[in-house]
């Protein structure tokens, strides 16, 4: 099993989730139809990709890796939206990254 490609799939999934979360933010503003539709089709696509991942990897390994989407959301809001990210959040990001690293080493 190609671990590298697996990591890529997971990362891609996480990035897509981040995009999803970003459109979720916009969702809170007045509803704009194309975004809602985009969000829903993204969800369907992601479910399909997720099933492909689950056909290869233990769910106990793959599911926690989804937490990387939090990392991407925090990075996105800090780097592109210019939000202030507190120390607590960065610590959380660090824990998630280390945790995924620990899981990946055992895979």
């Amino acid at each position: 099993m190609g671990l590298a490609s697996l990591a890529q799939i997971l990362l891609k999934h996480g990035m897509n989730r981040a995009g999803d979360a970003a459109s979720g933010h916009i969702w809170l503003r007045p509803l704009r139809q194309p975004l809602v539709l985009a969000g829903m089709s993204a969800q369907v696509l992601l479910t399909c990709i997720w099933l492909v991942v689950l056909s290869h990897v233990d769910v106990g390994l793959a599911f926690p890796v989804l937490a990387l989407s939090y990392v991407l959301v925090v990075a996105y809001s800090a780097l592109w939206l210019g939000e202030t990210v507190g120390r607590r959040r960065w610590l959380g990001v660090l824990l998630i990254v280390v945790g995924v690293g620990v899981l990946a080493r055992g895979a």
Binding site: L51, V52, V59, L61, F63, G86, R87, I96, G99
Partner: protein, 138 residues
């Protein structure tokens, strides 16, 4: 957002949502174990077309997706009762439930190891920190 006190119904709903979410993941994994590894676009097409044409061909996958959808519905109920800053970090419980469930379900038979336990625990704490700090910088 105005904070509401944590009530027993809300706590119950939260537990239900987290459990359903974990169960959905376990079912989907079980279903994909039955289906086999998806290695090509041909496999992928077979999965999607076959799954839509005859849902009974991948029963666990569909069960997982339906249970997951139910989890989302319950989660929306939770959000109407609880402050997001309390409810969101607790979603991390689903990692533990998936980990333990995947080890306990003989069909999945995933290993319990110190390494996986540590990794899952770290991620759960990290999510709690990220999700719990709300929108204000601290």
């Amino acid at each position: 957002m105005a904070r509401r006190p944590v009530d027993i119904v809300g706590a119950g709903q939260l537990l239900l949502a987290v459990s359903l979410m974990a169960a959905g993941q376990l079912f989907m994994r079980r279903g994909m174990l039955d289906f086999g590894p998806v290695d090509s676009f041909a496999d992928f097409g077979r999965l999607v077309r076959g799954g839509l044409a005859s849902p009974a061909s991948i029963p666990f996958v569909w069960a997982g997706m339906i249970v997951y959808a139910a989890a989302v519905m319950v989660w929306l109920q939770v959000l109407s009762r609880m402050a997001l800053s309390i409810a969101f970090p607790l979603m991390g419980l689903s990692y533990v439930l998936v980990y333990l469930g995947a080890a306990a379900w003989p069909a999945l038979d995933e290993p319990l190891s110190l390494q996986r336990f540590a990794g899952t625990g770290l991620i759960m704490c990290g999510v709690a920190l990220v999700a719990g700090s709300g929108s204000k910088a601290c």
